[in-house]
Every structure is written in C-alpha cells, then in structure tokens.
C-alpha cells in the first residue's frame, strides 16, 4: 500500500466520522470540535491531491479564523433549551440524502468525461510549483473576482458590526 493511499483512507474515514459527529452531537461545543476535526482532515485531503496552497489556506482561514467566530458566539449563547435533533425529519432525510448522494456522484463523474483538460499538467506543476500556478491564475485571469471578493469582505465586516452592535440610544430613550 502506498503512502498516499494510507493518507487518503485515513483522512477520508476520519473526515466522514467527524462529519457524522458534527451533525449528531447534541452539545454545541462537541459539534464545533468535530467541525474542527473535519476541517483539518479536509485540509489533509487537499495535501494528498497536490494542492498545498489551498490546504494551508484551509488550515489558516477555516480551522482557525472561522471556528473562532463560532466559539465566541457559542460562549455568549449559553444554553439551548429545545431538542437538538428532530426525530420527525431524521427518518425521512436519510434515504432522501442517500438518493441525492447517488445523483451527485453519477452526474459529477459522468460530466468529467466530456471536459477538456487544462494546460497545467503534472510536469508543469512539478516544474513551477502549485503555489505559483494558482497565484498566476489568481492575479491574471481572475483579478477582477479577486477585487470583488475583497469588496465583499469589507461589506460583510461593516454589516456584521452594524447588525451585532447594541442599540444603546433606543434603550436610553425607552
């Protein structure tokens, strides 16, 4: 068994188990910890696919920055009184989800047969490196979406500040 195969089976098994834990744990802290585990395993899968830049960004942005948001919000929303999992929908959702899984797998595998291959063959990637290839595409062909993404981050930051602040004026008046 090759090393990449061992890595793939380990990472994928742990990712699926952590995802099952993410959707079935009743305590929210356990849910977020399972989410961190899933994100780290997905990052490892990116490394086995040869996408080092994306894997490192996944670790930095997802597994650290976004999860910290969730932990902060969970620490301010102390207790959840309702039931965590609704059994009425669970019996229905699992077979429907399995059918959707079959459809997704069939459509995505069938679609690749008819696509053209790009110019970044493994020889080219080996010569210039994955980070340089992604960066070249990002700053030439996809420069305008990159700038729009920065604008979206700015708008989201301002919106989060305005939504999340306490309205002290109205409390003082009322």
């Amino acid at each position: 068994m090759e090393l990449t195969q061992i890595a793939f089976w380990t990472f994928s098994t742990l990712a699926v188990l952590s995802a099952i834990g993410t959707i079935f744990f009743r305590n929210l802290v356990y849910t977020v910890l399972s989410l961190i585990s899933t994100l780290i395993m997905v990052s490892g899968l990116f490394f086995t696919m040869g996408a080092e830049l994306v894997g490192a960004l996944q670790l930095l942005i997802y597994a650290v920055a976004i999860v910290v948001f969730y932990v902060l919000v969970i620490s301010t929303v102390p207790e959840f009184k309702g039931k965590a999992v609704d059994p009425k929908y669970m019996l229905l959702s699992i077979p429907v989800g399995f059918l959707i899984f079959l459809e997704l797998a069939y459509v995505s595998i069938y679609g690749v047969w008819q696509s053209n291959t790009g110019i970044f063959s493994p020889e080219v990637i080996e010569k210039i490196g994955n980070a340089k290839a992604v960066g070249t595409m990002l700053f030439t062909k996809y420069l305008f979406p990159f700038e729009v993404a920065s604008l979206i981050l700015l708008v989201a930051m301002i919106g989060a500040i305005i939504i999340g602040r306490k309205e002290e004026k109205q409390e003082a008046q009322g």
Binding site: A65, G82, S93, L104, A105, V112, F120, K141, A156, A160
Partner: protein, 100 residues
C-alpha cells in the same frame, strides 16, 4: 495514486451529511455549522476535478469560497446574536413570526 472518483464520492457524502444536518438540527448555530460542511464538500470536488483535468482554476475558486465562507460566518453569526438579543432563544421552532 488515488482515482478521482473516490474524492468525488467523499465530496458527495460530506455534502449529503451537511444537508441532513441542516434538515434535522433545530438550532440555528448548528445549521450554520452544517453549511460549512457543505462548503467543504464543494471545495473537495473543485480540487478533485483540478487533479483530473490538469488545471488550477478550481483551486482559485476554492480561494474565493474561503473568502465568502468567512463573510458568511461573520454576517450569519451577527444575525444570530441579534436574534438571541431580541428573543433569548436560538431554536428555529419558535421563530415563526413569518408563518401564516
């Protein structure tokens, strides 16, 4: 070398698990966490197709998805904080103001 179909199957499995999580959880924060699972499934599919088709455009889109996920988490959690401050509850069963 792992065939890319395995990655696609794993991506579909994570996607469906996130969908089941959105359906069965009754807590808004847990539903938002399930969306993160679905976004990760899409990321795996993008990178797997890149590996198959010898391209890097999918990894660029994974970069954009990371950005949008950060924005989505910030705005979504801000909304959850506003809802909690207003109602002292984050269960979707009681958020029925728009119901006829």
């Amino acid at each position: 070398m792992i065939p890319y179909e395995y990655y696609i199957a794993l991506s579909g499995l994570l996607m469906v698990l996130g969908l089941i999580g959105i359906i069965i959880r009754r807590n808004i924060i847990a539903m938002l966490i399930s969306t993160e699972l679905m976004l990760n499934a899409v990321n795996i599919a993008f990178v797997a197709f890149d590996m198959k088709l010898h391209d890097v455009a999918g990894q660029v889109f994974v970069f954009f998805i990371l950005t949008i996920a950060a924005a989505e988490a910030a705005v979504g959690l801000g909304l959850i904080m506003a809802i909690y401050r207003l109602r002292k509850d984050v269960s979707v069963d009681t958020l029925t103001e728009l119901k006829l």
